[in-house]
């Protein structure tokens, strides 16, 4: 008989993820040890590089911003019972939307252009997710398959456009010309400078505030709104949704649209906040990290913000680590990140079951 996985909320949201992270770090430590390096030193470099300096912290928070958006995107679809693997493609399209909007409307002032850019990212991302959503809802094409295909389509589409259409004629690089300067989302160190506070410069920009606002908005949507209620009914019990007069097809499309729009936020942070042009592969696989972030955060916005911070630390600290200890190559850092994803995502159920059994054994079943 399978044990019901009931446990107190604190155990579900904090204890289990914490155990996963500790187990992942132990495992990663063994890997580091096996190549003849000291795991304690490595961990120190990792934390030092991501949290120990103002600059490092800035980069960590920059990555965190990316992960919050894609994590939320996966979570919203997840609540509707959908596994949106297409964050990469949706963010890529979001970037295309930004480039088209900003470079064609460069005569507008910043206070109009910045919101337009953000909306364009959301709209293009939403569009790219809506098609697999529609196919799932009306044709039953599996969303996992279609979103993966749409990642490739997005990638190929943007390569074509950058090489043949959007590239500056005199440039050899497959990238657009720089966005109009008034459309740059201000760097955090610039914002602080206005108030006379000096912080070390980094890529971190005001998009972080937008990401946190998005997290609040998703919480409100999923757990408090009528629409979120319908989304959760469809995800938890599609038959009950039909009984309740909620159309699963409609909700699936809506959830995918919201999910794609959120994924577009990644493009806002990377392009409007930092790169200031559209270039190839700016998503760097972060769309997939969003899956791990959402899994680890239990698809809850608070969990997602915390998991994003963890992954931000890993990405930034990992880069520092590779720099300081050349034996631990960039690839090795990827391995460590992979171990964390493995433990936090795939093996999450393992610890969940153990913890549930330890905590709940006495109350398992009632006659």
């Amino acid at each position: 008989m399978s044990a019901p996985l009931e446990m107190p909320k604190w155990a579900d949201t904090i204890l289990v993820p914490a155990i996963s992270v500790v187990a992942a770090f132990l495992m990663a430590g063994l890997v580091v040890l096996s190549i003849g390096e000291n795991p304690i030193t490595a961990t120190r470099w990792l934390l030092q590089g991501s949290l120990g300096t103002g600059e490092g912290l800035g980069f960590t928070l920059f990555y965190m911003t990316d992960f919050i958006f894609v994590g939320l995107a996966v979570a919203v679809a997840f609540h509707a019972g959908l596994f949106n693997i297409g964050g990469e493609g949706q963010a890529t399209l979001g970037g295309l939307g930004i480039a088209l909007a900003l470079n064609n409307l460069s005569f507008l002032p910043g206070f109009l252009l910045i919101p337009i850019g953000i909306l364009a990212a959301a709209a293009f991302g939403a569009f790219w997710a809506a098609i697999p959503g529609y196919l799932q809802a009306k044709r039953g094409s599996h969303i996992v398959i279609t979103t993966i295909m749409f990642n490739w389509l997005a990638s190929v589409l943007v390569v074509y456009l950058l090489v043949n259409v959007l590239r500056e004629p005199q440039s050899m690089n497959p990238e657009t010309r720089a966005f109009p300067e008034q459309a740059y989302i201000p760097f955090m160190h610039e914002v602080f400078a206005v108030f006379g506070i000096e912080i070390p410069p980094s890529q971190l920009n005001l998009t972080l505030v937008l990401a946190l606002a998005a997290a609040y908005f998703v919480w409100l949507l999923i757990y408090r709104s009528r629409l979120g209620y319908a989304i959760r009914v469809v995800g938890a019990n599609p038959t009950a949704a039909v009984y309740a007069g909620i159309s699963p097809a409609r909700i699936i499309i809506i959830a995918m649209v919201l999910s794609g729009a959120l994924a577009g936020g990644l493009a806002v942070n990377e392009l409007m906040g930092y790169q200031h042009r559209l270039l190839l592969e700016f998503t760097s696989g972060y769309g997939f990290v969003g899956i791990a972030v959402a899994l680890m955060g239990r698809a809850h916005p608070v969990g997602i913000v915390l998991a994003s911070l963890l992954f931000g630390i890993l990405y930034q600290g990992g880069a520092e680590l590779a720099f300081e200890q050349p034996n631990i190559t960039r690839d090795m850092v990827v391995v460590i990140g992979g171990i964390i994803i493995l433990f936090a995502g795939a093996l999450d159920g393992l610890f969940r079951r153990l913890v549930a059994q330890m905590l709940a054994r006495p109350k398992l079943a009632r006659a």
Binding site: R232, A236, N237, A240, Y243, G245, P362, K363, R366, A367
Partner: protein, 507 residues
């Protein structure tokens, strides 16, 4: 001769819950022993201890007079105890022989074991009248025959003592009769049968002795011949219960729900309801009797707007429902509410907090929130009030829906639908998996609603319920309405024939 089973001072706690308190039970060899009790009374825990799913905290188990320790189902099987679960433990794509062999293959290769199973099954078939096509695919057998496979599995493993958990819950009346004949012949051959059920009629019909559990304690063991259903019900609940709710004669009002020549196909294109016509008047309960799976579910779902009928019309309060407005949402708006048959798959969302399940189908109602946002405090207060009114226990609106017992879940569904003042109420299996105390409550509510002038269409596979509540009874078989009766002018045999498709015209 020592008794087949003796349980002495069995205690089992799950955290704060004392599921079995000093339970003693003696089952004599060669008898059929019934165990009754409400949901949560500790019957299943006790049987799980006997079958080795749980270990008792304290107490002794004796089989044939010998104290033994049962730590796992394997120990139980070795001691000659077999169990037939309410939900079958069968592998549907495999044949009967393969299912019986499963876990007792007898070696690395199947051939030798299979031959042994075949001879043994042939012997069992002869000895107990347990005929079955041993090469049939289990998934293609009827539910009654699948249950027979479960019994064969237990007997093949040498069971002398057979525990059956709610065996008739899934059976049609004729299948239940066949099961009882089988149990009688097992008894004649010296086997011991323990029957867990909540149907008092079955207890009276087949058991020699009956033990009653209430709140973890064994409150009585009596010889069946010396007791009566009202007495057993009182022992189970701890107070007097009315098994039959009284209702006054009432002349029905104007027709509120009129169904004409309705035909429905399922998702695979099979015709499930064929040309069904019926009318329900204000202040009338029309009961649809039928063996499960004869189109009643599809009929209810089609009326509620969950399935699109291929033919036919639905009129509500005299007005024809257009196909464009025939969906659950708009039917609710115009006063047709629906207590669905399967509350866990349809009527509630088990993983939601109770107060969220309590607005399923109504989450768009303006009064439940501000604009797009739901007002949780309001929902919780609403449900708190209803929980008091409907005696839902525990009265905890934030508790997860799945944590409530079946009866209390059903009360949450009923409260949700009834409190919205239906004109027409569709009710499917209102008391399935609900304990006796709650059944009485639910029946009273339905009668009160009928007295208030609501038109109620009731679907149930429990004939007692149909006979008790209905002002008129329709029978369904194979998607067709096969007859109409007044409860006062019919009996179970008569209805049974109609349910089997022997129509008035043919008779």
């Amino acid at each position: 001769m020592s008794p087949a089973i003796e349980l002495i001072a069995i205690n089992k706690r799950f955290g704060d819950v004392h599921a079995n308190k000093d339970v003693n039970l003696t089952v004599e060899r060669g008898t059929i022993h019934g165990i009754v009790g409400e949901n949560g009374a500790g019957k299943s825990t006790l049987m799980s201890i006997l079958y080795g799913f749980y270990e008792a905290d304290a107490g002794e188990v004796r089989v044939n007079g010998k104290p033994i320790a049962i730590r796992s189902p394997i120990d139980a099987i070795c001691a000659g105890i077999g169990m037939v679960h309410q939900h079958f433990m069968l592998v549907e794509p495999l044949t009967v022989v393969e299912n019986v062999m499963l876990g007792a293959e007898g070696g690395r290769f199947l051939r030798a074991g299979e031959a042994k199973v075949r001879t043994e099954l042939a012997r069992l078939a002869k000895e107990y009248g347990l005929e079955i096509d041993v090469d049939a695919i289990v998934g293609e057998l009827s539910v009654g025959l699948q249950q027979r496979v479960e019994i064969l599995k237990a007997l093949y493993r040498g069971a002398d003592i057979l525990i059956l958990d709610e065996p008739t819950a899934v059976l049609t009346p004729p299948e239940a009769d066949a099961l009882f004949n089988l149990l009688r012949s097992l008894k004649e051959q010296g086997k011991t049968v323990i029957l867990i059920t909540h149907k008092l009629r079955e207890i009276m019909a087949i058991t020699d002795c009956v033990s009653v559990m209430r709140r973890g304690e064994m409150v009585a063991t009596v010889e069946t011949a010396n007791t009566s259903p009202p007495e057993l019900a009182e022992l189970m609940v701890g107070r007097r219960v009315l098994l039959q709710v009284e209702k006054a004669e009432k002349s029905p009002g104007r027709p509120l729900l009129e169904i004409e020549k309705l035909s429905v196909v399922d998702t695979r294109g099979v015709l499930r309801v064929a040309n069904a016509s019926l009318t329900v008047h204000a202040g009338e309960i029309v009961g649809i009797a039928g063996v499960a799976g004869n189109g009643q579910s599809e009929l209810l779902e089609a009326i509620a707007g969950m399935r699109r009928p291929i033919l036919g019309s639905v009129r509500l309060g005299g007005r024809e429902i257009r196909p464009s407005e025939h969906n659950p949402h708009q039917m609710r708006e115009i006063g047709l509410l629906h207590v669905p048959e399967d509350r866990l798959r349809m009527g509630l969302v088990p993983s939601f907090a109770a107060f969220e399940s309590a607005i399923l189908g109504f989450s768009h109602e303006g009064r439940l929130g501000h604009g797009p946002i739901l007002d949780h405090d309001r929902l919780i207060a609403d449900l708190s009030a209803k929980m008091e009114q409907y005696d839902v226990r525990p009265p905890a609106p934030r508790l997860k829906t799945s944590k409530f017992s079946g009866g209390n879940q059903q009360k949450i569904v009923l409260a949700r639908e009834i409190e919205r003042n239906p004109k027409v109420l569709l009710v499917g299996q209102p008391t399935r998996g609900v304990d006796i105390g709650a059944i009485e409550f639910i029946h009273r509510r339905l009668i009160a609603l009928r007295d208030a002038g609501v038109a109620i269409l009731l679907v149930s596979v429990e004939l007692d319920e149909i006979m008790n509540l209905s002002d008129r009874i329709l029978t369904m078989c194979g998607g067709q309405i096969t007859g109409e009766r007044k409860p006062s002018e019919t009996n179970e045999q008569d209805l049974g024939l109609l349910m089997a498709g022997v129509t008035d015209e043919a008779a």
